[in-house]
Symmetry: C2
Subunit: 307 residues, 2 copies
Protein backbone atom coordinates (compact mmCIF):
# COMPACT_ATOMS: atom_id res chain seq x y z
CA UNK A 1 0.00 0.00 0.00
CA UNK A 2 3.00 2.24 -0.31
CA UNK A 3 1.79 3.95 -3.44
CA UNK A 4 4.38 5.56 -5.66
CA UNK A 5 7.50 4.49 -3.89
CA UNK A 6 10.70 4.49 -5.92
CA UNK A 7 13.43 2.41 -4.40
CA UNK A 8 16.27 1.28 -6.57
CA UNK A 9 18.29 -1.75 -5.64
CA UNK A 10 21.66 -3.06 -6.66
CA UNK A 11 21.18 -4.74 -10.00
CA UNK A 12 24.16 -7.06 -9.72
CA UNK A 13 22.15 -10.16 -9.02
CA UNK A 14 20.08 -9.53 -12.09
CA UNK A 15 22.69 -8.42 -14.54
CA UNK A 16 22.93 -11.82 -16.16
CA UNK A 17 19.19 -12.08 -16.45
CA UNK A 18 19.00 -8.70 -18.07
CA UNK A 19 21.54 -9.89 -20.60
CA UNK A 20 19.41 -12.92 -21.19
CA UNK A 21 16.24 -10.95 -21.73
CA UNK A 22 17.64 -8.15 -23.80
CA UNK A 23 19.90 -10.45 -25.75
CA UNK A 24 16.83 -12.42 -26.79
CA UNK A 25 15.69 -9.23 -28.43
CA UNK A 26 18.81 -8.84 -30.50
CA UNK A 27 20.41 -12.21 -31.08
CA UNK A 28 18.48 -13.06 -34.23
CA UNK A 29 19.04 -9.61 -35.66
CA UNK A 30 22.76 -9.95 -35.10
CA UNK A 31 22.81 -12.96 -37.38
CA UNK A 32 21.14 -11.06 -40.19
CA UNK A 33 23.46 -8.10 -40.05
CA UNK A 34 26.70 -8.07 -41.97
CA UNK A 35 29.39 -9.81 -40.00
CA UNK A 36 32.60 -7.88 -40.35
CA UNK A 37 34.91 -10.50 -38.90
CA UNK A 38 37.84 -12.01 -40.70
CA UNK A 39 40.33 -14.66 -39.78
CA UNK A 40 43.95 -13.84 -39.71
CA UNK A 41 46.72 -13.36 -37.26
CA UNK A 42 44.25 -11.68 -34.93
CA UNK A 43 41.76 -14.56 -34.97
CA UNK A 44 37.99 -14.40 -35.30
CA UNK A 45 36.03 -11.20 -34.99
CA UNK A 46 32.31 -10.68 -35.19
CA UNK A 47 29.45 -8.37 -34.38
CA UNK A 48 29.53 -7.03 -30.85
CA UNK A 49 26.18 -6.27 -29.23
CA UNK A 50 25.57 -3.71 -26.52
CA UNK A 51 25.25 -6.43 -23.89
CA UNK A 52 28.80 -7.63 -24.25
CA UNK A 53 28.12 -10.55 -26.56
CA UNK A 54 29.93 -11.24 -29.80
CA UNK A 55 28.42 -13.11 -32.76
CA UNK A 56 30.60 -14.82 -35.33
CA UNK A 57 29.12 -16.26 -38.53
CA UNK A 58 31.57 -18.89 -39.73
CA UNK A 59 30.10 -18.69 -43.23
CA UNK A 60 31.28 -15.10 -43.52
CA UNK A 61 34.67 -14.91 -41.86
CA UNK A 62 36.69 -16.34 -44.74
CA UNK A 63 37.55 -19.74 -43.27
CA UNK A 64 38.95 -22.25 -45.76
CA UNK A 65 36.20 -24.73 -46.62
CA UNK A 66 38.45 -27.62 -45.69
CA UNK A 67 39.78 -26.15 -42.43
CA UNK A 68 40.58 -28.93 -39.98
CA UNK A 69 39.10 -29.24 -36.52
CA UNK A 70 42.54 -28.70 -35.05
CA UNK A 71 43.23 -25.60 -37.10
CA UNK A 72 39.87 -24.07 -36.23
CA UNK A 73 40.35 -24.99 -32.58
CA UNK A 74 43.63 -23.02 -32.51
CA UNK A 75 42.02 -19.96 -34.11
CA UNK A 76 39.10 -20.14 -31.68
CA UNK A 77 41.40 -20.57 -28.68
CA UNK A 78 43.26 -17.39 -29.53
CA UNK A 79 40.04 -15.49 -30.15
CA UNK A 80 38.53 -16.69 -26.87
CA UNK A 81 41.56 -15.47 -24.94
CA UNK A 82 41.12 -12.05 -26.52
CA UNK A 83 37.34 -11.92 -25.89
CA UNK A 84 37.87 -12.91 -22.26
CA UNK A 85 40.54 -10.23 -21.80
CA UNK A 86 38.11 -7.72 -23.30
CA UNK A 87 35.44 -8.70 -20.78
CA UNK A 88 32.97 -10.13 -23.31
CA UNK A 89 29.92 -11.76 -21.72
CA UNK A 90 29.11 -14.37 -24.35
CA UNK A 91 30.10 -15.73 -27.76
CA UNK A 92 27.67 -16.97 -30.40
CA UNK A 93 28.94 -19.10 -33.28
CA UNK A 94 26.76 -19.55 -36.34
CA UNK A 95 28.03 -22.69 -38.08
CA UNK A 96 26.93 -23.70 -41.60
CA UNK A 97 26.26 -27.42 -41.88
CA UNK A 98 29.22 -27.85 -44.25
CA UNK A 99 31.56 -26.61 -41.49
CA UNK A 100 30.03 -28.56 -38.62
CA UNK A 101 33.42 -30.05 -37.78
CA UNK A 102 34.08 -26.60 -36.28
CA UNK A 103 31.27 -27.27 -33.79
CA UNK A 104 33.17 -30.25 -32.42
CA UNK A 105 36.28 -28.10 -32.06
CA UNK A 106 34.22 -25.40 -30.31
CA UNK A 107 32.73 -27.93 -27.91
CA UNK A 108 36.25 -28.71 -26.71
CA UNK A 109 36.37 -25.06 -25.59
CA UNK A 110 33.05 -25.21 -23.75
CA UNK A 111 30.59 -24.26 -26.49
CA UNK A 112 27.26 -26.08 -26.64
CA UNK A 113 24.46 -26.18 -29.17
CA UNK A 114 21.93 -23.37 -28.68
CA UNK A 115 19.78 -24.43 -31.64
CA UNK A 116 19.97 -25.68 -35.21
CA UNK A 117 17.67 -25.42 -38.16
CA UNK A 118 17.91 -26.57 -41.76
CA UNK A 119 21.40 -25.61 -42.94
CA UNK A 120 23.08 -24.17 -39.86
CA UNK A 121 23.63 -24.60 -36.14
CA UNK A 122 24.17 -21.92 -33.51
CA UNK A 123 26.51 -22.62 -30.61
CA UNK A 124 26.97 -20.43 -27.59
CA UNK A 125 29.44 -19.98 -24.76
CA UNK A 126 28.65 -17.97 -21.65
CA UNK A 127 31.69 -16.04 -20.40
CA UNK A 128 29.97 -14.00 -17.68
CA UNK A 129 30.01 -15.01 -14.04
CA UNK A 130 27.78 -17.76 -12.66
CA UNK A 131 25.61 -20.12 -14.68
CA UNK A 132 24.75 -19.25 -18.26
CA UNK A 133 22.07 -16.60 -18.60
CA UNK A 134 21.75 -16.81 -22.35
CA UNK A 135 18.22 -16.65 -23.76
CA UNK A 136 16.73 -20.03 -24.62
CA UNK A 137 15.54 -21.01 -28.07
CA UNK A 138 11.86 -21.78 -28.71
CA UNK A 139 10.56 -24.01 -25.92
CA UNK A 140 7.02 -24.89 -26.99
CA UNK A 141 5.23 -26.60 -29.81
CA UNK A 142 1.68 -25.38 -30.37
CA UNK A 143 -1.16 -27.79 -31.09
CA UNK A 144 -4.70 -26.71 -31.87
CA UNK A 145 -8.04 -28.49 -31.84
CA UNK A 146 -11.27 -27.23 -33.36
CA UNK A 147 -14.69 -27.73 -31.78
CA UNK A 148 -17.06 -27.23 -34.73
CA UNK A 149 -20.48 -26.53 -33.23
CA UNK A 150 -23.69 -26.98 -35.21
CA UNK A 151 -25.77 -24.65 -33.05
CA UNK A 152 -29.13 -25.46 -34.63
CA UNK A 153 -28.71 -29.18 -33.98
CA UNK A 154 -26.82 -28.82 -30.69
CA UNK A 155 -24.08 -31.06 -32.05
CA UNK A 156 -20.30 -30.90 -32.26
CA UNK A 157 -17.86 -32.67 -34.57
CA UNK A 158 -15.71 -35.30 -32.83
CA UNK A 159 -13.30 -38.03 -33.89
CA UNK A 160 -11.67 -41.10 -32.43
CA UNK A 161 -8.01 -41.66 -33.27
CA UNK A 162 -6.88 -44.89 -34.82
CA UNK A 163 -4.32 -47.03 -33.04
CA UNK A 164 -5.22 -46.01 -29.49
CA UNK A 165 -5.66 -48.46 -26.67
CA UNK A 166 -8.81 -46.65 -25.56
CA UNK A 167 -11.36 -45.31 -28.03
CA UNK A 168 -12.11 -41.83 -26.71
CA UNK A 169 -13.88 -38.96 -28.47
CA UNK A 170 -11.84 -35.84 -29.05
CA UNK A 171 -11.91 -32.77 -31.23
CA UNK A 172 -9.95 -32.96 -34.50
CA UNK A 173 -6.66 -31.08 -34.37
CA UNK A 174 -2.92 -31.17 -34.76
CA UNK A 175 0.30 -29.21 -34.64
CA UNK A 176 0.56 -25.67 -35.97
CA UNK A 177 2.84 -25.28 -38.94
CA UNK A 178 5.62 -22.71 -38.43
CA UNK A 179 4.14 -19.21 -38.77
CA UNK A 180 0.54 -20.43 -38.75
CA UNK A 181 -2.05 -18.67 -36.58
CA UNK A 182 -3.98 -20.68 -34.01
CA UNK A 183 -7.33 -20.25 -35.75
CA UNK A 184 -5.90 -21.22 -39.13
CA UNK A 185 -4.49 -24.44 -37.67
CA UNK A 186 -7.88 -25.36 -36.23
CA UNK A 187 -9.68 -24.82 -39.55
CA UNK A 188 -7.00 -26.68 -41.54
CA UNK A 189 -6.79 -29.66 -39.20
CA UNK A 190 -10.58 -30.04 -38.97
CA UNK A 191 -10.80 -30.15 -42.75
CA UNK A 192 -7.88 -32.54 -43.17
CA UNK A 193 -9.24 -34.98 -40.60
CA UNK A 194 -12.98 -34.74 -41.23
CA UNK A 195 -13.58 -33.09 -44.61
CA UNK A 196 -15.75 -30.43 -42.91
CA UNK A 197 -15.15 -26.76 -43.81
CA UNK A 198 -15.44 -24.28 -40.96
CA UNK A 199 -14.54 -20.79 -39.79
CA UNK A 200 -12.87 -19.54 -36.62
CA UNK A 201 -15.09 -18.00 -33.94
CA UNK A 202 -13.19 -17.89 -30.66
CA UNK A 203 -10.53 -19.35 -28.40
CA UNK A 204 -12.01 -21.50 -25.62
CA UNK A 205 -9.13 -23.02 -23.70
CA UNK A 206 -5.35 -23.29 -23.42
CA UNK A 207 -3.45 -26.23 -21.95
CA UNK A 208 0.23 -26.22 -20.99
CA UNK A 209 2.23 -29.42 -20.53
CA UNK A 210 5.98 -29.82 -20.02
CA UNK A 211 8.60 -32.44 -20.90
CA UNK A 212 6.20 -33.70 -23.51
CA UNK A 213 7.16 -37.04 -25.08
CA UNK A 214 5.39 -35.98 -28.29
CA UNK A 215 7.42 -32.75 -28.49
CA UNK A 216 10.98 -34.08 -28.44
CA UNK A 217 10.90 -33.52 -24.67
CA UNK A 218 10.01 -29.84 -25.00
CA UNK A 219 6.78 -28.16 -23.80
CA UNK A 220 3.39 -28.27 -25.45
CA UNK A 221 0.72 -25.58 -25.61
CA UNK A 222 -2.63 -26.86 -26.81
CA UNK A 223 -5.36 -24.42 -27.82
CA UNK A 224 -9.00 -25.38 -28.33
CA UNK A 225 -11.02 -23.13 -30.63
CA UNK A 226 -14.72 -22.79 -31.29
CA UNK A 227 -15.50 -23.00 -35.00
CA UNK A 228 -18.72 -22.65 -37.00
CA UNK A 229 -19.40 -25.17 -39.76
CA UNK A 230 -19.57 -24.04 -43.38
CA UNK A 231 -20.25 -27.59 -44.59
CA UNK A 232 -21.67 -30.57 -42.74
CA UNK A 233 -20.82 -33.67 -44.77
CA UNK A 234 -18.24 -35.87 -43.05
CA UNK A 235 -15.50 -37.36 -45.24
CA UNK A 236 -12.94 -38.41 -42.72
CA UNK A 237 -9.32 -39.46 -43.03
CA UNK A 238 -9.29 -43.20 -42.54
CA UNK A 239 -5.55 -43.30 -41.87
CA UNK A 240 -5.89 -41.01 -38.89
CA UNK A 241 -9.40 -41.56 -37.59
CA UNK A 242 -11.35 -44.63 -36.55
CA UNK A 243 -14.67 -42.78 -36.28
CA UNK A 244 -16.02 -39.30 -36.90
CA UNK A 245 -19.47 -38.04 -35.88
CA UNK A 246 -21.66 -35.05 -35.21
CA UNK A 247 -22.37 -35.85 -31.56
CA UNK A 248 -24.86 -34.12 -29.26
CA UNK A 249 -22.96 -31.66 -27.05
CA UNK A 250 -24.85 -32.88 -23.99
CA UNK A 251 -24.04 -36.48 -24.82
CA UNK A 252 -20.35 -35.63 -25.23
CA UNK A 253 -20.35 -33.84 -21.87
CA UNK A 254 -21.77 -36.95 -20.18
CA UNK A 255 -19.97 -39.86 -21.83
CA UNK A 256 -16.99 -41.53 -20.22
CA UNK A 257 -15.66 -42.22 -23.73
CA UNK A 258 -14.02 -38.82 -24.10
CA UNK A 259 -10.66 -37.42 -23.07
CA UNK A 260 -10.78 -35.23 -19.93
CA UNK A 261 -10.18 -32.02 -21.91
CA UNK A 262 -12.90 -32.97 -24.39
CA UNK A 263 -15.40 -33.57 -21.58
CA UNK A 264 -14.50 -30.26 -19.99
CA UNK A 265 -14.85 -28.32 -23.24
CA UNK A 266 -18.13 -30.09 -23.97
CA UNK A 267 -19.43 -28.74 -20.66
CA UNK A 268 -18.24 -25.28 -21.66
CA UNK A 269 -20.00 -25.61 -25.02
CA UNK A 270 -23.21 -26.79 -23.36
CA UNK A 271 -23.10 -23.74 -21.11
CA UNK A 272 -22.47 -21.58 -24.19
CA UNK A 273 -25.38 -23.11 -26.11
CA UNK A 274 -27.70 -22.51 -23.17
CA UNK A 275 -26.49 -19.07 -22.02
CA UNK A 276 -24.68 -17.63 -25.04
CA UNK A 277 -21.20 -18.22 -26.35
CA UNK A 278 -20.19 -14.78 -25.05
CA UNK A 279 -20.02 -16.52 -21.66
CA UNK A 280 -17.18 -18.82 -22.75
CA UNK A 281 -15.39 -17.10 -25.63
CA UNK A 282 -12.11 -15.29 -25.95
CA UNK A 283 -12.40 -12.98 -28.95
CA UNK A 284 -9.51 -12.44 -31.34
CA UNK A 285 -8.39 -9.10 -32.72
CA UNK A 286 -5.37 -8.04 -34.75
CA UNK A 287 -3.27 -5.18 -33.39
CA UNK A 288 -0.04 -3.61 -34.65
CA UNK A 289 3.19 -4.37 -32.77
CA UNK A 290 4.45 -1.26 -31.01
CA UNK A 291 7.79 -0.91 -32.77
CA UNK A 292 7.59 -2.92 -35.99
CA UNK A 293 3.96 -2.24 -36.89
CA UNK A 294 3.57 -5.93 -37.79
CA UNK A 295 0.13 -7.28 -36.92
CA UNK A 296 -0.24 -9.77 -34.10
CA UNK A 297 -3.29 -11.62 -32.86
CA UNK A 298 -4.61 -10.86 -29.39
CA UNK A 299 -7.17 -13.01 -27.57
CA UNK A 300 -9.14 -11.90 -24.51
CA UNK A 301 -12.67 -11.61 -23.16
CA UNK A 302 -14.83 -9.26 -25.24
CA UNK A 303 -15.17 -5.77 -23.75
CA UNK A 304 -18.65 -4.26 -23.65
CA UNK A 305 -17.37 -1.09 -25.34
CA UNK A 306 -15.34 -2.99 -27.91
CA UNK A 307 -16.62 -2.46 -31.43
CA UNK B 1 -26.62 -31.13 -41.76
CA UNK B 2 -25.97 -34.69 -42.82
CA UNK B 3 -25.73 -35.98 -39.29
CA UNK B 4 -23.84 -39.21 -38.76
CA UNK B 5 -22.48 -39.80 -42.21
CA UNK B 6 -19.44 -42.02 -42.48
CA UNK B 7 -17.60 -41.64 -45.72
CA UNK B 8 -14.08 -42.85 -45.95
CA UNK B 9 -11.74 -41.37 -48.52
CA UNK B 10 -8.44 -42.37 -49.98
CA UNK B 11 -5.79 -41.47 -47.45
CA UNK B 12 -2.96 -41.11 -49.93
CA UNK B 13 -2.92 -37.33 -49.90
CA UNK B 14 -2.66 -37.37 -46.16
CA UNK B 15 -0.32 -40.24 -45.57
CA UNK B 16 2.66 -37.96 -45.19
CA UNK B 17 0.80 -35.73 -42.80
CA UNK B 18 -0.16 -38.71 -40.72
CA UNK B 19 3.48 -39.67 -40.54
CA UNK B 20 4.25 -36.14 -39.44
CA UNK B 21 1.68 -36.11 -36.69
CA UNK B 22 2.19 -39.58 -35.38
CA UNK B 23 5.93 -39.40 -35.72
CA UNK B 24 5.86 -36.35 -33.47
CA UNK B 25 4.46 -38.64 -30.85
CA UNK B 26 7.29 -41.11 -31.07
CA UNK B 27 10.42 -39.38 -32.30
CA UNK B 28 11.61 -38.30 -28.89
CA UNK B 29 10.93 -41.68 -27.40
CA UNK B 30 12.88 -43.36 -30.14
CA UNK B 31 15.94 -41.45 -29.09
CA UNK B 32 15.68 -42.65 -25.54
CA UNK B 33 15.30 -46.30 -26.44
CA UNK B 34 18.30 -48.50 -26.88
CA UNK B 35 19.65 -48.22 -30.37
CA UNK B 36 20.62 -51.62 -31.60
CA UNK B 37 22.47 -50.54 -34.72
CA UNK B 38 26.08 -51.28 -35.40
CA UNK B 39 28.43 -50.31 -38.16
CA UNK B 40 30.05 -52.93 -40.22
CA UNK B 41 29.89 -54.35 -43.67
CA UNK B 42 26.13 -53.83 -43.61
CA UNK B 43 26.31 -50.14 -42.65
CA UNK B 44 24.25 -48.25 -40.09
CA UNK B 45 21.18 -49.68 -38.48
CA UNK B 46 18.87 -48.08 -35.97
CA UNK B 47 15.47 -48.20 -34.38
CA UNK B 48 12.64 -48.58 -36.86
CA UNK B 49 9.33 -46.97 -35.92
CA UNK B 50 5.93 -48.11 -37.10
CA UNK B 51 5.67 -45.20 -39.50
CA UNK B 52 8.58 -46.28 -41.63
CA UNK B 53 11.18 -44.04 -40.04
CA UNK B 54 14.58 -45.18 -38.78
CA UNK B 55 16.51 -43.45 -36.00
CA UNK B 56 20.27 -43.84 -35.70
CA UNK B 57 22.15 -42.55 -32.63
CA UNK B 58 25.74 -42.03 -33.75
CA UNK B 59 26.90 -42.12 -30.14
CA UNK B 60 25.76 -45.73 -29.87
CA UNK B 61 26.62 -47.42 -33.14
CA UNK B 62 30.30 -47.96 -32.48
CA UNK B 63 31.79 -45.40 -34.86
CA UNK B 64 35.49 -44.68 -34.31
CA UNK B 65 35.77 -41.34 -32.52
CA UNK B 66 38.09 -40.07 -35.21
CA UNK B 67 36.09 -41.30 -38.20
CA UNK B 68 36.60 -38.99 -41.17
CA UNK B 69 33.83 -37.18 -42.98
CA UNK B 70 34.61 -39.21 -46.09
CA UNK B 71 34.52 -42.52 -44.27
CA UNK B 72 31.23 -41.70 -42.58
CA UNK B 73 29.83 -40.47 -45.88
CA UNK B 74 30.56 -43.85 -47.48
CA UNK B 75 28.92 -45.76 -44.63
CA UNK B 76 25.88 -43.48 -44.77
CA UNK B 77 25.62 -43.77 -48.55
CA UNK B 78 25.44 -47.54 -48.37
CA UNK B 79 22.92 -47.42 -45.53
CA UNK B 80 20.74 -44.94 -47.38
CA UNK B 81 20.63 -47.16 -50.45
CA UNK B 82 19.44 -50.00 -48.25
CA UNK B 83 16.82 -47.90 -46.43
CA UNK B 84 15.48 -46.63 -49.73
CA UNK B 85 15.24 -50.15 -51.14
CA UNK B 86 13.38 -51.15 -47.99
CA UNK B 87 10.88 -48.33 -48.53
CA UNK B 88 11.78 -46.38 -45.40
CA UNK B 89 9.98 -43.02 -45.11
CA UNK B 90 12.55 -41.04 -43.15
CA UNK B 91 15.91 -41.23 -41.41
CA UNK B 92 16.80 -39.43 -38.16
CA UNK B 93 20.45 -39.05 -37.16
CA UNK B 94 21.29 -38.11 -33.59
CA UNK B 95 24.80 -36.67 -33.69
CA UNK B 96 26.85 -35.99 -30.53
CA UNK B 97 28.69 -32.69 -30.72
CA UNK B 98 32.07 -34.46 -30.77
CA UNK B 99 31.06 -36.18 -34.04
CA UNK B 100 29.50 -33.17 -35.74
CA UNK B 101 31.77 -33.64 -38.72
CA UNK B 102 29.35 -36.47 -39.56
CA UNK B 103 26.60 -33.85 -39.93
CA UNK B 104 28.51 -32.21 -42.76
CA UNK B 105 28.88 -35.60 -44.46
CA UNK B 106 25.16 -36.25 -43.98
CA UNK B 107 24.24 -32.89 -45.46
CA UNK B 108 25.97 -33.96 -48.68
CA UNK B 109 23.34 -36.73 -48.83
CA UNK B 110 20.42 -34.37 -48.28
CA UNK B 111 20.14 -34.37 -44.49
CA UNK B 112 19.34 -31.09 -42.75
CA UNK B 113 19.32 -30.00 -39.12
CA UNK B 114 16.02 -30.74 -37.37
CA UNK B 115 17.14 -29.32 -34.03
CA UNK B 116 20.09 -29.19 -31.66
CA UNK B 117 20.40 -28.73 -27.94
CA UNK B 118 23.34 -28.72 -25.57
CA UNK B 119 25.54 -31.68 -26.57
CA UNK B 120 23.86 -33.11 -29.64
CA UNK B 121 22.17 -32.29 -32.93
CA UNK B 122 19.41 -34.18 -34.70
CA UNK B 123 19.38 -34.30 -38.49
CA UNK B 124 16.61 -35.66 -40.64
CA UNK B 125 16.08 -36.79 -44.20
CA UNK B 126 12.62 -37.33 -45.68
CA UNK B 127 12.57 -40.27 -48.08
CA UNK B 128 8.81 -40.37 -48.72
CA UNK B 129 7.19 -38.81 -51.74
CA UNK B 130 6.60 -35.06 -52.03
CA UNK B 131 7.87 -32.40 -49.66
CA UNK B 132 9.08 -33.39 -46.21
CA UNK B 133 6.27 -34.13 -43.77
CA UNK B 134 8.45 -34.57 -40.74
CA UNK B 135 7.20 -33.03 -37.49
CA UNK B 136 8.73 -29.67 -36.64
CA UNK B 137 10.67 -28.95 -33.47
CA UNK B 138 9.37 -26.41 -30.93
CA UNK B 139 8.22 -23.30 -32.79
CA UNK B 140 7.30 -20.84 -30.03
CA UNK B 141 8.91 -19.06 -27.14
CA UNK B 142 6.50 -18.16 -24.33
CA UNK B 143 6.64 -14.80 -22.60
CA UNK B 144 4.45 -13.86 -19.67
CA UNK B 145 3.49 -10.54 -18.09
CA UNK B 146 1.84 -10.07 -14.72
CA UNK B 147 -0.81 -7.43 -14.02
CA UNK B 148 -0.71 -7.12 -10.21
CA UNK B 149 -3.97 -5.47 -9.20
CA UNK B 150 -4.40 -3.72 -5.86
CA UNK B 151 -8.19 -3.96 -5.81
CA UNK B 152 -8.74 -1.77 -2.77
CA UNK B 153 -6.80 1.13 -4.31
CA UNK B 154 -7.86 0.48 -7.91
CA UNK B 155 -4.21 0.43 -8.93
CA UNK B 156 -1.99 -1.85 -10.98
CA UNK B 157 1.78 -2.29 -11.01
CA UNK B 158 3.47 -1.01 -14.18
CA UNK B 159 7.02 -0.41 -15.37
CA UNK B 160 8.80 1.46 -18.12
CA UNK B 161 11.73 -0.31 -19.76
CA UNK B 162 15.12 1.33 -19.91
CA UNK B 163 16.73 2.00 -23.27
CA UNK B 164 13.53 2.41 -25.25
CA UNK B 165 12.97 5.24 -27.70
CA UNK B 166 9.48 5.75 -26.30
CA UNK B 167 8.72 5.59 -22.59
CA UNK B 168 5.58 3.50 -22.45
CA UNK B 169 3.99 1.83 -19.42
CA UNK B 170 3.76 -1.94 -19.53
CA UNK B 171 3.30 -4.84 -17.15
CA UNK B 172 6.46 -6.46 -15.82
CA UNK B 173 7.26 -9.77 -17.47
CA UNK B 174 9.71 -11.87 -19.42
CA UNK B 175 10.39 -15.24 -21.01
CA UNK B 176 9.36 -18.49 -19.39
CA UNK B 177 12.22 -20.72 -18.38
CA UNK B 178 12.09 -24.22 -19.87
CA UNK B 179 9.48 -26.27 -17.99
CA UNK B 180 8.06 -23.26 -16.12
CA UNK B 181 4.30 -22.79 -15.89
CA UNK B 182 2.77 -19.55 -17.16
CA UNK B 183 1.62 -18.38 -13.73
CA UNK B 184 5.01 -19.11 -12.17
CA UNK B 185 6.76 -17.03 -14.81
CA UNK B 186 4.46 -14.08 -14.10
CA UNK B 187 5.08 -14.21 -10.34
CA UNK B 188 8.84 -14.62 -10.78
CA UNK B 189 9.26 -11.86 -13.35
CA UNK B 190 7.14 -9.41 -11.36
CA UNK B 191 9.32 -9.98 -8.32
CA UNK B 192 12.59 -9.79 -10.24
CA UNK B 193 11.65 -6.52 -11.93
CA UNK B 194 9.72 -4.76 -9.18
CA UNK B 195 10.45 -6.45 -5.84
CA UNK B 196 6.70 -7.02 -5.32
CA UNK B 197 5.54 -10.49 -4.20
CA UNK B 198 2.28 -11.71 -5.72
CA UNK B 199 0.15 -14.75 -6.43
CA UNK B 200 -1.47 -16.03 -9.61
CA UNK B 201 -5.21 -15.46 -10.04
CA UNK B 202 -6.12 -15.92 -13.71
CA UNK B 203 -5.09 -15.77 -17.34
CA UNK B 204 -6.41 -12.63 -19.07
CA UNK B 205 -5.03 -12.61 -22.59
CA UNK B 206 -2.85 -14.44 -25.11
CA UNK B 207 -0.99 -12.83 -28.00
CA UNK B 208 0.56 -14.70 -30.93
CA UNK B 209 3.21 -13.15 -33.15
CA UNK B 210 5.29 -14.82 -35.86
CA UNK B 211 8.78 -14.39 -37.31
CA UNK B 212 9.66 -12.57 -34.11
CA UNK B 213 13.00 -10.75 -34.18
CA UNK B 214 13.32 -11.30 -30.42
CA UNK B 215 12.82 -15.05 -30.78
CA UNK B 216 15.57 -16.00 -33.23
CA UNK B 217 12.98 -15.57 -35.97
CA UNK B 218 10.60 -18.11 -34.42
CA UNK B 219 7.10 -17.40 -33.06
CA UNK B 220 6.18 -15.76 -29.78
CA UNK B 221 3.24 -16.46 -27.50
CA UNK B 222 2.72 -13.81 -24.84
CA UNK B 223 0.38 -14.46 -21.93
CA UNK B 224 -0.90 -11.77 -19.57
CA UNK B 225 -1.95 -12.94 -16.13
CA UNK B 226 -3.88 -11.28 -13.34
CA UNK B 227 -2.03 -11.44 -10.04
CA UNK B 228 -2.89 -10.34 -6.50
CA UNK B 229 -0.24 -8.52 -4.48
CA UNK B 230 1.19 -10.10 -1.34
CA UNK B 231 3.51 -7.13 -0.74
CA UNK B 232 3.26 -3.55 -1.98
CA UNK B 233 6.69 -1.97 -1.54
CA UNK B 234 8.39 -1.29 -4.87
CA UNK B 235 12.11 -2.10 -5.10
CA UNK B 236 12.67 -2.14 -8.81
CA UNK B 237 15.55 -3.42 -10.94
CA UNK B 238 17.36 -0.31 -12.14
CA UNK B 239 19.17 -2.18 -14.90
CA UNK B 240 15.95 -3.21 -16.53
CA UNK B 241 13.44 -0.53 -15.56
CA UNK B 242 13.41 3.23 -15.84
CA UNK B 243 10.31 3.68 -13.69
CA UNK B 244 7.94 1.50 -11.68
CA UNK B 245 4.63 2.63 -10.16
CA UNK B 246 1.30 1.61 -8.77
CA UNK B 247 -0.84 3.42 -11.34
CA UNK B 248 -4.60 3.92 -11.29
CA UNK B 249 -6.20 1.35 -13.61
CA UNK B 250 -8.42 4.05 -15.13
CA UNK B 251 -5.43 6.31 -15.73
CA UNK B 252 -3.55 3.45 -17.41
CA UNK B 253 -6.55 2.73 -19.65
CA UNK B 254 -6.63 6.36 -20.76
CA UNK B 255 -2.98 7.35 -21.16
CA UNK B 256 -1.27 7.37 -24.53
CA UNK B 257 1.96 6.43 -22.74
CA UNK B 258 1.24 2.72 -22.71
CA UNK B 259 1.77 -0.08 -25.20
CA UNK B 260 -1.39 -1.11 -27.11
CA UNK B 261 -1.67 -4.43 -25.27
CA UNK B 262 -1.23 -2.68 -21.92
CA UNK B 263 -4.01 -0.21 -22.74
CA UNK B 264 -6.28 -3.02 -23.80
CA UNK B 265 -5.65 -5.07 -20.68
CA UNK B 266 -6.12 -1.96 -18.53
CA UNK B 267 -9.60 -1.62 -20.05
CA UNK B 268 -10.24 -5.27 -19.25
CA UNK B 269 -9.09 -4.73 -15.67
CA UNK B 270 -11.27 -1.65 -15.30
CA UNK B 271 -14.24 -3.69 -16.48
CA UNK B 272 -13.26 -6.39 -14.00
CA UNK B 273 -12.94 -3.95 -11.11
CA UNK B 274 -16.37 -2.52 -11.90
CA UNK B 275 -18.26 -5.69 -12.77
CA UNK B 276 -16.24 -8.50 -11.21
CA UNK B 277 -13.12 -10.27 -12.38
CA UNK B 278 -15.23 -13.31 -13.26
CA UNK B 279 -16.17 -11.30 -16.36
CA UNK B 280 -12.60 -11.28 -17.68
CA UNK B 281 -10.82 -14.27 -16.14
CA UNK B 282 -9.74 -17.62 -17.46
CA UNK B 283 -9.43 -19.94 -14.48
CA UNK B 284 -6.63 -22.49 -14.21
CA UNK B 285 -7.01 -26.08 -13.12
CA UNK B 286 -4.67 -29.05 -13.09
CA UNK B 287 -5.85 -32.22 -14.80
CA UNK B 288 -4.12 -35.56 -15.40
CA UNK B 289 -2.95 -36.35 -18.93
CA UNK B 290 -4.99 -39.17 -20.40
CA UNK B 291 -2.21 -41.70 -20.96
CA UNK B 292 0.72 -40.66 -18.77
CA UNK B 293 -1.24 -39.37 -15.77
CA UNK B 294 1.14 -36.39 -15.60
CA UNK B 295 -0.62 -33.20 -14.51
CA UNK B 296 -1.11 -30.40 -17.01
CA UNK B 297 -2.58 -26.96 -16.56
CA UNK B 298 -5.82 -26.09 -18.31
CA UNK B 299 -7.20 -22.54 -18.66
CA UNK B 300 -10.77 -21.69 -19.62
CA UNK B 301 -13.77 -19.67 -18.50
CA UNK B 302 -15.10 -20.78 -15.13
CA UNK B 303 -18.13 -23.06 -15.36
CA UNK B 304 -21.04 -22.30 -13.04
CA UNK B 305 -21.06 -25.90 -11.80
CA UNK B 306 -17.28 -26.04 -11.41
CA UNK B 307 -16.23 -26.45 -7.81
Amino acid sequence: MTGRVFVSRLPLRLSGRVYRKVCAQTGARSFSRAVTGVTGGSGLTGDVDRFGGVTVDLARVGLPGDISEDAFGRILQGSLARWKSEGKQAVWLRVPISLTRCAAAASAHGFAFHHAKDDHAVLALWLGGGPSRLPAFATHQVGVAGAVVDESAGKVLVVQDKNKTKNAWKFPGGLSDPGENIGATAVREVFEETGVRSEFRSLLSIRQQHRHPNAFGMSDLYAICRLSPLTYRIDFCTQECLRCEWLGVGELAETSSATPVTSRVARLLLFGLERGFDKIDLAMEELPAVYSGVLYQLYHRPLPTQS
